[in-house]
């Protein structure tokens, strides 16, 4: 925020009774992390609006002597902001939340490690029975995959299904969804690495999303498959039309070779 456009002014804030300089208007969660102050979080992603699903980033905001528990991803830094991140009450609630997470995603290493870091190694709650789960007992329903697919990629291939304790994420009617571009941004952004996909010679299979199969484009030079066709279409649509046709259908390896040959004069530039 401060590198481009107007510079936001620096203000003084207090975290756990210590004073710091911070950028006005910045999301407090990011400020804290930058200052190496640890606040657990799972569903926050810089590229997206704060969502508020994980409830782990809750901190105490002190105003006129009163404290209010608030998610750190919704707090905007302003002069005089006072925060406490590790009061006994916050720790108590955090630990219980981790117990809930351990029960909800019993196969997730990420959750197990995070919980252990905050002192929680077992859960008093009934663990989810993981049987035929396309997300292999690791999904915490943070919604990052859905949000990235809908809001950033604009594809909307997956969404939440049902509500409350019956909520799951998948494709409509649990069927192969031709809308999917195979970009795998969902798998990339998933904090617990729950989403599984596999590339074969001809297609990318999103195993977690009801086996949605997206054909892979083949390189016009080496004939090997390299990226989902639909994704390539999406990307090519957005490219500068000045980029020459030959480069558009090459895989990364062949593209590199082509550009090198162009550089050393073997191929005339257009």
């Amino acid at each position: 925020m401060s590198l481009f456009g107007s510079v936001n002014r620096m203000v003084t804030i207090t975290i756990n009774k210590n004073q710091y300089l911070a950028e006005e208007g910045e999301i407090f969660l990011l400020t804290a992390l930058r200052l190496n102050i640890d606040i657990p979080h799972l569903c926050y992603e810089k590229a997206l609006e704060p969502y508020g699903a994980c409830r782990l980033c809750m901190v105490d905001v002190v105003t006129c002597g009163k404290t209010t528990m608030t998610p750190a991803c919704t707090i905007k830094v302003h002069n005089g902001l006072e925060i406490l991140t590790d009061t006994p009450e916050i720790i108590k609630h955090r630990r219980l939340l981790f117990e809930l997470y351990l029960a909800e995603a019993p196969k997730s290493e990420v959750i197990r490690e995070m919980a252990a870091k905050y002192g929680v190694t077992k859960t008093r709650f009934l663990k989810k029975i993981v049987h035929d789960d396309p997300l292999f007992g690791k999904c915490i329903l943070c919604g990052l995959c859905v949000r990235v697919c809908n809001e950033i990629m604009g594809t909307s291939a997956i969404n939440f299904i049902n509500r409350g304790p019956y909520t799951v994420i998948n494709t409509p009617f649990f069927e192969h969804n031709p809308d999917c571009a195979g970009c795998a941004a969902c798998a990339q952004v998933c904090p617990t690495k729950a989403i599984v996909f596999e590339d074969s010679d001809a297609e990318r299979i999103m195993q977690s999303w009801s086996g949605t199969a997206v054909p892979l484009a083949t390189c016009s030079s080496c004939k090997k498959s390299y990226a989902p066709e639909k994704l390539m279409d999406k990307v090519l649509d957005k490219l500068d039309p000045a980029i020459i046709e030959e480069l558009r259908t090459l895989c990364p390896e062949c593209r590199r070779k082509y550009i090198t040959r162009m550089e050393i004069g073997r191929i005339p530039r257009s």
Binding site: P50, Y51, G52, A53, C54, R55, M58, M69, P71, C73, T74, E89, K92, H93, L96, L97, L100, Y101, A103, E104, R124, F125, L126, I140, L141, G143, F160, N162, R163, G164, P165, Y166, T167
Partner: protein, 562 residues
């Protein structure tokens, strides 16, 4: 015809009064959902048939609900010059003699509930007459005597499907006054000074919310009516919309003008088909008279209202979920800030008020903030309509000034436990509220006092429980409800309520342990403190209050070996 001047409005008023007091016999049949369910329409049709075939000079109308639901079907008989008579538990067999007696200036005495000699419609007055003094007067019936009807002033007495009757008793005059002779800021000021607080349960000052919306940057804004009324046991809003829909429209018209908004929306739950029907009819009639649409009362002000229906999700009563639902999305609440008044429906500043909050507006403008604030208690002005249901004797719609005690409502109006049983507790505020034991019944019904004892006002459902009710089962019922209605977005509500239910199921089955109780409490506190929205934040209230006030019932179910 378009109503443009006060003379126009007056001429319709005369027309409406003529319909209400036609100079001949008038029979009204209570046809709200409750009335219809116990045979109201059958009575109406029977009466209509006889009147038509015998070509009698009797005017027959559908009316809304007078509120004494236990006594439905209720039929009102108005004989010129005589007091209006309310007949109770009318059967199809009674129809013939109701007509024949009426033609002779009489009523079937075995069916009489009470008489009404004159009536204060707040915006107007009606005098019926005297006579029939062998029958009890309206004011002598305990159920009615302790009520103060402001919102329910027209319910059960006028035809909700005829705008003329609403105008006949003074309706839309407040809107005329507001739009033609008051400045928008003055209207907001009046509402602020009246002390009107949100009747949906949160109790936020309505005037302040209006002011914030008005000041929010942006040209396009919305005003919305929350008619989702999802609290089981609460049907005040349904009644208000079915019995007096124009009261809501007039309130929204005044508010829209005050805030400078031209688009209004009523978000109404799908489970209220009759209310939807009556509202659509009312909207059509208002538009025909030019009371909605372009250039209302020739002031240049445009305003219209559209209806958006819900689809069976309690969570859509939450403001951000409601906005999402109107936008065609799932009802998953959003983080606040930004509040709805800043960024609401389709990202525009939105003022959201409950049905009953809107219904209070016409009387505030008609009679003034001083009059309004003289009713109720300090900081809790005006009246509130409650649905008194459950194991109470007199079940129905009850309207009392805020500050009235629970005791007065349940015993003076409700006549205590049904079937002679002992009342044990009352649940207020729906699934967000708590269960209050009898020993705390002197608690006044106002926003703060109820919060102090661990519950909340909510939308106005009062569910009475008696000696046979198992309070742990009630706690389990509410957690089951909340869990099923949870949107599932945040972990504490989605997972926490799920596990609370598992524990409560164990306890109710007699398989619970001391540790279970402790874990239940821990869960309740975390769900309360860390949930994203009001649903999760208040869902543990029934558990926490029953654990506090009815601890013995939990202890009784704990297995001794634990």
């Amino acid at each position: 015809m378009r109503i443009q001047t006060s003379e126009d409005l007056d001429s319709i008023r005369k027309k409406g009064l003529q319909k209400i007091q036609p100079g001949g016999i008038r029979i009204g049949v209570g046809t709200s959902s409750c009335g219809i369910a116990v045979g109201g329409m059958a009575l109406y049709n029977l009466l209509d048939e006889i009147i038509q075939t015998k070509n009698l000079d009797i005017s027959l109308v559908k009316t809304g609900c007078i509120g004494f639901c236990k006594e439905e079907p209720i039929v009102s008989v108005s004989i010129p010059g005589k007091a209006l008579v309310l007949l109770r538990k009318v059967k199809p067999d009674d129809v013939e003699r109701i007509i024949s007696l009426a033609l002779h200036g009489d009523v079937p005495s075995d069916r009489v509930l009470c008489t009404i000699s004159d009536w204060d419609h707040i915006t107007g007055n009606l005098v019926y007459g005297n006579e029939f003094d062998t029958f009890p007067e309206y004011g002598e019936i305990p159920f009615f005597a302790h009520q103060k009807k402001v919102i329910l002033r027209d319910s059960g007495l006028i035809n909700p499907e005829d705008i003329d009757e609403y105008i006949g008793i003074g309706g839309y005059f407040a809107a005329y006054k507001a739009l033609t002779s008051m400045k928008p800021d003055a209207i907001i000021d009046e509402v602020k000074r009246s002390g009107l607080r949100g009747r949906g349960g949160a109790g936020f000052p309505a005037g302040l919310k209006w002011e914030i919306t008005k000041k929010a940057p942006g040209e396009e804004k919305f005003i919305v009516c929350n008619a989702d009324e999802g609290d089981p046991g609460a049907y005040m809003n349904r009644n208000e919309m079915e019995s007096d829909p124009h009261m809501l429209l007039e309130g929204m018209l005044i508010g829209a003008y005050a805030m400078g908004v031209s688009e209004g929306l009523i978000y109404i739950r799908a489970e209220y088909p009759l209310a939807i029907e009556r509202l659509m009819l009312a909207l059509d009639q208002a538009r025909t008279y030019g009371l909605l649409g372009k250039n209302i009362f020739n002031t240049g002000f445009d305003f219209d209202i559209r209806i958006a229906t819900g689809a069976g999700a309690f969570v859509c009563g939450e403001s951000t979920a409601l906005a999402a639902s109107i936008e065609g999305k799932t009802g998953r609440p959003r983080l606040r800030p930004p509040r709805l008044t800043e960024k609401g429906v389709f990202g525009k500043p939105t003022d959201l008020n409950n049905v009953e909050t809107w219904c209070n507006v016409p009387v505030i403008i008609a009679k003034g903030a001083l009059w309004y604030s003289s009713i109720g208690a300090k900081g809790n002005t005006g009246t509130k309509v409650f649905s008194l249901v459950g194991k109470v004797d007199n079940i129905g719609m009850v309207e009392v000034p805020l500050g009235t005690s629970l005791h007065s409502i349940i015993y003076d109006i409700g006549n205590g436990g049904a079937l002679g049983k002992e009342v044990k507790a009352v649940q207020t505020g729906g699934p967000s509220g708590g269960c209050i034991p009898v020993r705390l019944f002197d608690t006044p019904v106002d926003f703060e006092s109820l919060n102090q004892v661990g519950t909340m006002m909510g939308s106005g459902g009062l569910v009475v429980m008696d000696e046979d009710t198992n309070m742990v089962d009630i706690a389990r019922y509410f957690i089951n409800f909340a869990s099923g209605e949870s949107c599932g977005k945040c972990v504490p509500c989605r997972e926490g309520l799920k596990h609370m239910l598992l524990i409560l199921n164990r306890i109710v089955a007699g398989k619970g342990t001391r540790q279970d109780i402790e874990l239940l409490r821990e869960l309740a506190e975390t769900v309360q403190k860390t949930s994203l929205c009001g649903l999760g934040q208040t869902a543990p209230n029934p558990v926490l209050t029953t654990m506090q006030y009815f601890k013995e019932e939990y202890d009784d179910l704990i297995s001794p070996e634990a």
